[in-house]
């Protein structure tokens, strides 16, 4: 279980994250969704330990997180594969805490899972963007982490590849039961993949809404319920962006935001609940 308690982050004097508090249960697939610059990427870096909070604390299973660990592996947008190593060597690169290497069998299994067995001797530059990202995911899974952090992993990919990888990621998640935190600015992606979408607002970054989606997996884009949910989240975000543009505070935000959602909640019979209303 991952717990964040009033996590705040400043860059110079600017507040980029404002008292983020949340709990993520084991096995959950949670998306952090928000416009660019809302600090979602910073937040996931803090959870990974690659960045530190200015204030507040992050803990996993009661232990405080202060530095990177092989328990929490990050998948980056631009994959971070080592160009001088083959696909196979990249997947096998990680070093477990007890100093053990990743076994050949595990590597074989993972390569099969991402369907790149025949590419195992290729170098990253010989792969397409989608393949690289699959290798990056396999490399992370090889560490058998408790928590998989994905920082906009698919945002540089074309639509078709993205859809393919969504299906694959859902499958992997269902097979392995990993806890996944998935950062994205793509609403459809968030809604399709996650159990829970944490919608973030700008300036300073904070969670404006916690949406739970109980639709069974695997899901498809065509699901009408998801499409409806997507548009209501879009409306919420548009409002947030407009607010920021005009630089004015909305009055009675709580009621207004609730009312945007009420329609869709009842019609979808979904559980949505609200947190950290500004």
């Amino acid at each position: 279980m991952l717990e964040l308690n009033k996590v705040t982050k400043y860059y110079k004097n600017e507040k980029v994250l404002d008292e983020i508090t949340m709990t993520i249960k084991e096995g959950e697939f949670v998306s952090l969704l928000g416009p660019s610059g809302c600090g979602k990427s910073t937040l996931v870096h803090i959870i990974s330990g690659l960045n530190q909070a200015s204030d507040g604390e992050v803990s996993m299973d009661g232990r405080k997180i202060t530095r990177p660990s092989t328990d929490r592996i990050m998948v980056f947008q631009s994959n971070g594969l080592f160009p001088w190593l083959t696909v196979e060597q990249n997947v096998a690169f990680g070093k477990k805490d007890n100093g053990n290497k990743i076994s050949k069998d595990e590597v074989k299994k993972l390569l099969k899972m991402i369907r790149l067995t025949s590419y195992r001797h290729k170098y990253p530059h010989q792969l397409s963007g989608g393949m690289k990202q699959r290798v990056s995911i396999a490399r992370s899974l090889a560490m058998d982490p408790q928590l998989l952090l994905m920082d906009e992993p698919f945002s540089a990919l074309d639509e078709q590849t993205k859809n393919e990888l969504h299906d694959e990621l859902q499958k992997i998640w269902m097979e392995t039961g990993k806890t996944i935190i998935f950062v994205t600015h793509n609403i459809r992606e968030a809604v399709k993949l996650s159990d829970r979408v944490l919608v973030m607002g700008n300036d300073p970054g904070r969670i404006i809404c916690d949406v739970r989606i109980s639709e069974p997996h695997p899901r498809s884009h065509a699901d009408q319920n998801l499409v409806a949910l997507e548009s209501s989240i879009l409306r919420l975000l548009e409002k947030e962006i407009r607010k920021q543009k005009e630089g004015e505070e909305l009055h009675g935000t709580l009621d207004e935001k609730k009312s945007i959602f009420n329609g869709s909640i009842t019609s979808l019979a979904r559980t949505l609940f609200y947190k950290n209303m500004a």
């Binding site: 592996i73 990050m74 594969l81 160009p83 001088w84 990680g94």
Partner: protein, 202 residues
């Protein structure tokens, strides 16, 4: 005979220059304090033609091979240091983060991630160092003693035999082109290809 002598000096000097250069360059790339202390100094030394070290070298090592080799080392060293430092400093932070996240720290992180990531830069440095060493050697041989290509060139001058001078010049240029083209360019190209710096995804 003259050529063999020259080549021996060149290879020894070049070998020392790149080994020492990579070593110092790595230290400077990793430790900011060393870089800040010596970085400016090395840049200014780079602009000093290496042959002006010859009188000092003759004093330190007496007349002989070591003085020549010293000048060759100096010829390639500064450039090698600077290329290595630039390579180490220029490593993509994302690769370092990935390495740390995958369980590597300290020296193992350096050996497995940072150094390999800097290889393309280092190879370019090696290629340039070869040319610099070659130039330094010729200058040293012309001024200094012992047998070598530079010496032959000077004899030609003293005898007023311009065909000898020109022949030596052709040999020098030819050797430079051939060694660069056959060995270093190929290595560099291979490294760049494998590191994915030449072609992008298909």
């Amino acid at each position: 005979m003259a050529m063999l002598n020259s080549f021996r000096r060149l290879l020894i000097g070049f070998g020392i220059a790149i080994t020492l250069g990579v070593f110092i360059g790595v230290l400077m790339g990793r430790f900011k304090s060393i870089d800040e202390t010596f970085g400016g100094l090395i840049l200014s030394l780079q602009s000093v033609p290496s042959v002006v070290w010859l009188p000092l070298a003759l004093l330190w090592f007496s007349m002989g091979e070591s003085a020549m080799i010293f000048v060759v080392v100096i010829g390639g060293l500064w450039n090698m240091i600077m290329s290595t430092t630039a390579g180490i400093k220029g490593v993509d932070p994302l690769l370092i983060q990935s390495g740390i996240n995958l369980g590597y720290t300290g020296f193992s992180l350096f050996r497995k991630v940072i150094l390999p990531a800097a290889v393309p830069h280092i190879i370019t440095g090696v290629r340039m160092a070869w040319a610099f060493c070659w130039r330094a050697l010729m200058a040293a041989e012309i001024i200094g003693t012992g047998q070598g290509l530079g010496q032959v060139l000077m004899w030609g001058r003293d005898m007023g035999n311009m065909s000898t001078v020109l022949a030596v010049m052709f040999i020098i240029a030819g050797t430079g082109i051939i060694s660069d083209g056959i060995v270093f360019k190929k290595i560099e190209k291979e490294v760049y290809r494998r590191w994915g710096l030449l072609e992008t995804a298909f």
